[in-house]
């Protein structure tokens, strides 16, 4: 556990420095807005990473919970509640709905869980679209107030950027503590070998429920921040297109790593932006890219870097002659999903 922390620590510092100084470097308002969205989606992807990357349960209802958080904050702040109270409340509601949906769905395994959650995700967005009295139906929710501290309103891009960055750091902090702990080992034991985990006394169902609730709490939080900063939301906020975007960020960036989801959430939209001239052919390129990554780097960019490090280290040890048992050392041993 400690080794892994040290190995990933340098990356955090670089990331943090880059994140804090980014507003000084980026002057283009459009690109800057993209960066803010990437920060929000980083939170969503990080939370997807907990249930999918670390616990091995492919939840495809993630955008649904993002939507619950968004509508929760939108409705509550429009009713006059402070953003700072509405956000944790909405996130908690999202976690609670996650608990209720998890009770039946987490009893299924593998692709069945993916299909079941996909259905629930779609149901959530349909409910949002048709519960007109509460959500305003397909016209959506407009004029959601921005977060405020006293008389200061988060209306400038820079202030919004640092606000979201703070929430991302909070998410990272929680994820880091969870993952590098006995609780994290419980999650990974379920991902890796559920029958064995159960046989050594781990309540795998409860473990999955905890992971699912925490993941959905942060998905809801990401949605709440999104609603408040964008100011208007519609049923498409909860669309499963979002889920699949985050899934791609996660797989490209590296599932079951902490830096991977953030890397993916920044790299992918930026690439999309710079390849704009290719129009729809972009999607073909990304399709091919995704296939290559899944086959050759099952743990994404970060996983690729890690296994490269591992391979170099192993070769070094072999040369030193103390690795007589290190025959099959490769990063392939720990696939994420």
């Amino acid at each position: 556990m400690a080794v892994k922390f040290l190995r990933e620590k340098w990356f955090y510092l670089v990331l943090l420095l880059a994140a804090v100084t980014l507003p000084l470097v980026v002057t283009d308002r459009y690109i800057f807005q993209l960066a803010i969205m990437s920060l929000i989606f980083s939170i969503a992807t990080l939370s997807l990473n907990l249930i999918l990357g670390y616990t091995g349960q492919a939840s495809l209802a993630h955008a649904g919970f993002f939507g619950i958080g968004a509508y929760g904050v939108g409705l509550m702040t429009k009713a006059g509640l402070s953003f700072w109270l509405a956000l944790p409340l909405a996130s908690f509601i999202s976690a609670l709905v996650g608990f209720l949906i998890g009770l039946p769905t987490l009893r299924t395994r593998g692709s069945y869980f993916a299909i079941a959650t996909l259905c629930f995700g779609v149901i959530i967005s349909i409910v949002i679209g048709n519960w007109v009295e509460l959500t305003g139906g397909h016209t959506g929710l407009l004029g959601i107030p921005r977060p405020k501290i006293g008389s200061f309103e988060f209306s400038s891009q820079i202030s919004q950027y640092y606000l979201v960055l703070a929430f991302l750091l909070l998410t990272l902090f929680v994820m880091h503590r969870l993952v590098h702990s006995l609780q994290g080992l419980s999650f990974m034991s379920v991902r890796n070998n559920e029958p064995l985990a159960e046989a050594v006394g781990i309540n795998t169902f409860a473990t999955k429920i905890i992971s699912f609730m925490v993941a959905n709490f942060f998905a809801g939080m990401a949605g709440g921040i999104y609603a408040s900063l964008i100011g208007s939301i519609s049923p498409s906020t909860a669309s499963f297109n979002h889920t699949f975007n985050w899934l791609v960020y996660l797989l490209l960036g590296g599932a079951a790593t902490l830096a991977g989801p953030i890397l993916g959430a920044f790299a992918f939209p930026l690439l999309m932006e710079y390849l704009q001239f290719l129009e729809d052919y972009r999607l073909i390129i990304f399709g091919v890219l995704l296939i290559i990554v899944i086959i050759y780097f099952p743990r994404g960019l970060m996983g690729g870097i890690e296994s490269l490090q591992h391979r170099i280290k192993t070769r070094y040890r072999l040369r030193k002659g103390d690795g007589k048992n290190v025959v099959t050392a490769s990063g392939k041993s720990h696939q994420a999903v």
């Binding site: 929680v174 994290g184 490769s330």
Partner: protein, 255 residues
């Protein structure tokens, strides 16, 4: 009183009786071997005792307490852990992490204490580290603590699987073919380890095909055939029992 009592245990799959009205006791501190030809119901019996399968009828008692039909993790928490016939480990993780997961059920830190690093979390972490070191030493793999499972030899993986089951401080451990697929030299190593487990006061229940190993290790033997208990006794009694010899070697060998 016996540590583990199996009473009239029956498991019926559609059209097939895997385990039929089997009764036996496992005494505290002994090594009990369960032998029988392929398909005799040995692994099914383990699955019934460890809660992976629900029995059709019959009861299982641990220290007099009825544990029939409990979830596997509950049975593990009450003190029965097991290994599987095909070596199963957490093969994406390191050796030490595997053992820590084995001890996880003896720790209580959950979500909040993990987030806030409470005193309980710190105590749990120290307890776990101490236990992992202890088990590493016990199974003789201290130098492999930070290796990934995929880099271990077959024999080391078998050792580790036993270590994972031991880490949670069980009262009884069920070993399903702990030396399956190993060469003789490695088998001896595992045999020594099983003797060590017995010496540590842990009751062992063992499924094994290698007869010389069973005869060497077991205090008592239960023989299964087609789901029925064929015989029960000391290795000496079993090796001269005509019904056992017939089941194993065929009728013509019965002298």
């Amino acid at each position: 009183m016996s540590l583990l009592q199996v009473e009239n245990l029956t498991k019926r799959f559609e059209g097939l009786v895997a385990v039929n009205d089997v009764t036996f006791n496992v005494d505290r501190g002994e090594i009990l071997a369960i032998i029988g030809p392929n398909g005799a119901g040995k692994s099914s019996l383990f699955n019934l005792v460890s809660g992976i399968l629900r029995p059709t009828s019959g009861r299982v008692f641990l220290e007099g307490q009825d544990i029939t039909g409990l979830k596997p993790h509950r049975i593990a928490q009450m003190g029965i852990t097991r290994t599987f016939q095909t070596t199963t480990l957490f093969n994406q993780l390191r050796v030490a992490d595997n053992l820590a997961i084995g001890y996880r059920m003896r720790t209580a830190s959950g979500f909040w204490s993990t987030i806030f690093h409470t005193r309980r979390w710190k105590e749990d972490r120290e307890k776990t580290m101490a236990r992992v070191l202890e088990v590493l030493d016990f199974i003789g793999m201290t130098d492999k603590a930070f290796d990934f499972v995929s880099t271990l030899s077959q024999e080391e993986q078998k050792r580790l699987a036993i270590g994972v089951a031991l880490a949670g401080e069980p009262k009884a451990i069920l070993l399903d073919e702990p030396t399956g697929g190993l060469i003789q030299e490695d088998t001896d190593g595992i045999t020594q380890l099983i003797k060590k487990i017995k010496a540590a006061g842990i009751t062992v229940c063992l499924i094994e095909h290698k007869m010389n190993m069973v005869m060497d290790l077991a205090d008592r033997i239960v023989v299964l055939n087609y789901g029925n208990k064929l015989a029960e006794g000391t290795p000496g009694e079993i090796s001269t029992n005509p019904a056992v010899i017939e089941a194993y070697l065929g009728r013509e060998y019965v002298a």
